[in-house]
Amino acid sequence: MIDLTHVEKVYRTSTIETLALKDINLRINPGAFLSIMGPSGSGKSTLLNIMGLLDDPTGGQVQVDGQQIANMKDDEMARLRNRRIGFVFQSYHLINDLTVVDNVEMPLLYRKSTSAERRQKALAALDKVGLSARTRHFPTQLSGGQCQRVAIARAIVGEPQIILADEPTGNLDSVMSDEILDILMNLNKNEGTTIVMVTHNQQMAEKTERIVRLCDGSQVD
């Protein structure tokens, strides 16, 4: 499903060069639930972005669904993201000027769909995360846990095979964190969605099938 071989990422600015990832080899099978752990600045987000085609590696190869992304154009990668990948971020990244249901519909705007289809799929996704009662609210009227559930609904509305979650519970207390983890685990179990989750929480990581540990851009396990 996702295949990384000898992946390397160097950030170059005029003054410094940061080696954010070095020689990452990782194979993620369909239906897997994987945690990425590591100290701050160890390259976890960078790795997730490369898996999610948001960023290009400076070395090595990335395959998603058997497709080499090295030669892909920007637009092709965007289409692939739209169909295959859902993102969840620590700070939710909801659009505050849109209602919950409009936020969830957003990814569907970038593929062929009617407004009735979009609405119906968004409501179904919100139902899965248990937020059917809040569809007309604005993000600012919701708690952090609810915001993250909206973000998950947005990530799954397009029925992607892969969800990439970058510290999805980083801003949440333990009760809300457990709720979010439950939702992700259910998606993995019931829908067979592949999930890669960055976390600092050892207990949460242990509930997933596999833990990848990063330190200074290298895999350490």
Binding site: S45, T46, N49, G52, L54, D55, D74, D75, A78, R79, R81, N82, R83, F87, F89, Q90, S91, H93, I95, D97, L98, D102, M106, P107, L109, Y110, R111, S115, F138, R154, G158
Partner: protein
């Protein structure tokens, strides 16, 4: 997608309020300017009803001369007749006519009200001689111009312009209609003997008004206040001829003050004045619109930098770079649409309340369309660069910011 943008703008209306009201303000300014421009353009392109080329206006101001008191009415009439003979004897002169002081571009008006069918209306009055229509190249639509037969007329003959037919007679045939002046104790009737098309004697900037021509000869007492000659000259007459006339007529009249000016020069001067008067308005309008465009550009630019996170998350969700740039332009156009809608609601009041009856509703509508298109264009141009910036935002970086 368009609905999505409307929702975004609508939910952000409080933040966009200032920008939308600025666009609205520009719309109002552009509407005023384009109404004026269209109105002017149409007036400029419409016929005057006469020909001003190769016509000299000769003022014979005997009243200013010292000998005024010593001249009898008879002597004045004779001097004028002599002047006409002298003018006609010049090789350069094609024809000569006389008129009252409210000649084209003279800057003077003469209005009186007369009665037709029990209704009193205002008319512009012109005392002119038998050759006036020839000198001014004014074709008759119906009937005839004045001639010597009118010496024996039982009812005072008048020639009218088409505007009088429209305002006074409606569908009725104009020739033979009687208009009455009942200012004095005994009412006086006038009979229509001819119709000319237009007579926009105040120039291209003024609309047509109902005009009535009365006949003036050297023999009637009107001569005393209709002492301006119109001289049609050959195209090759040259500027020097004006001086020749001035000198000769001064000699004949024994010191009357003679002023000669080409009608075309009078026209050009009046147009020049109009341009000079319109210039500040146009500059202020351009300045305002330029300011709004600059403000718009700045706000859009700022909003793109503030919305990096949103743009990043859209890109992550699969938006193409083109989607992002169209969204920025589209949102600006949606804001313009809100502003234009409010602007049109206001602008539509002008024809509804008939604030300027001279300007037709069609001109207002056209001006609304023009100013809307201009606003859309300005807004699209201002949004162009910010939209490119937005499209170039790298999602990984944008999402990293937070």
């Amino acid at each position: 997608m368009i609905r999505h943008m409307f929702k975004l703008i609508w939910n952000r209306k409080r933040r966009n309020y200032l920008l939308i009201s600025e666009i609205f303000f520009s719309f109002v300014v552009l509407f005023a300017v384009s109404t004026f421009a269209l109105f002017t353009g149409i007036r400029l392109s419409e016929p005057l009803g006469f020909d001003y080329e190769d016509v000299l206006v000769v003022q014979t101001n005997y009243e200013d001369a010292q000998q005024t008191d010593s001249l009898s009415e008879r002597e004045v009439k004779d001097i004028m007749a002599t002047m006409e003979r002298e003018l006609r004897s010049c090789r350069e002169v094609v024809d000569v006519a006389w008129g009252s002081s409210n000649l084209p571009w003279a800057g003077s008006m003469w209005r009186t009200s007369y009665i037709y069918d029990g209704i009193e209306r205002d008319y512009s009055i012109h005392y002119v001689s038998d050759h006036f229509a020839d000198v001014m190249t004014m074709p008759l639509l119906e009937g005839r111009w004045f001639n010597a037969d009118d010496d024996a007329a039982a009812i005072t003959p008048i020639v009218i312009n088409r505007k009088v037919c429209e305002t006074t007679f409606g569908d009725k045939p104009a020739i033979g209609q009687i208009i009455t002046d009942d200012d004095d104790e005994t009412p006086v009737d006038f009979v229509v003997i001819g119709v000319v098309d237009e007579y926009r004697y105040r120039g291209e900037m003024e609309v047509s008004e109902p005009s009535i021509f009365f006949r003036r000869t050297h023999e009637d007492s009107l001569t005393l206040y209709a002492g301006t000659a119109l001289v049609k000259v050959r195209p090759d007459a040259g500027v020097g001829f004006q001086k020749t006339i001035t000198d000769r007529l001064a000699e004949i009249s024994h010191g009357w003050i003679i002023g000669v000016e080409a009608l075309e020069d009078a026209r050009n001067e009046s147009l020049r004045n109009i341009k000079i008067n319109a210039l500040p308005g146009v500059i202020v309008a351009l300045f305002l619109v330029f300011n709004v465009a600059l403000g718009l550009f700045g706000i859009l630019w700022y909003s793109v930098s503030r919305r990096r996170g949103e743009i990043g998350v859209r890109r992550a969700a699969g938006a193409l770079a083109a989607h992002i740039s169209w969204q920025i332009i589209g949102e600006a156009l949606v804001m313009a649409t809100f502003a234009i809608l409010v602007g049109i609601i206001l602008a539509i009041q002008v024809p509804l309340l008939d604030i300027q009856p001279q300007i037709s509703t069609a001109i207002y509508l056209l001006a609304m369309i023009c100013s809307s298109l201009m606003i859309y264009m300005i807004v699209a141009v201002c949004a162009m660069y910010p939209s490119r910036l937005a499209a170039r935002i790298q999602p990984a970086e944008a999402l990293h910011d937070e």
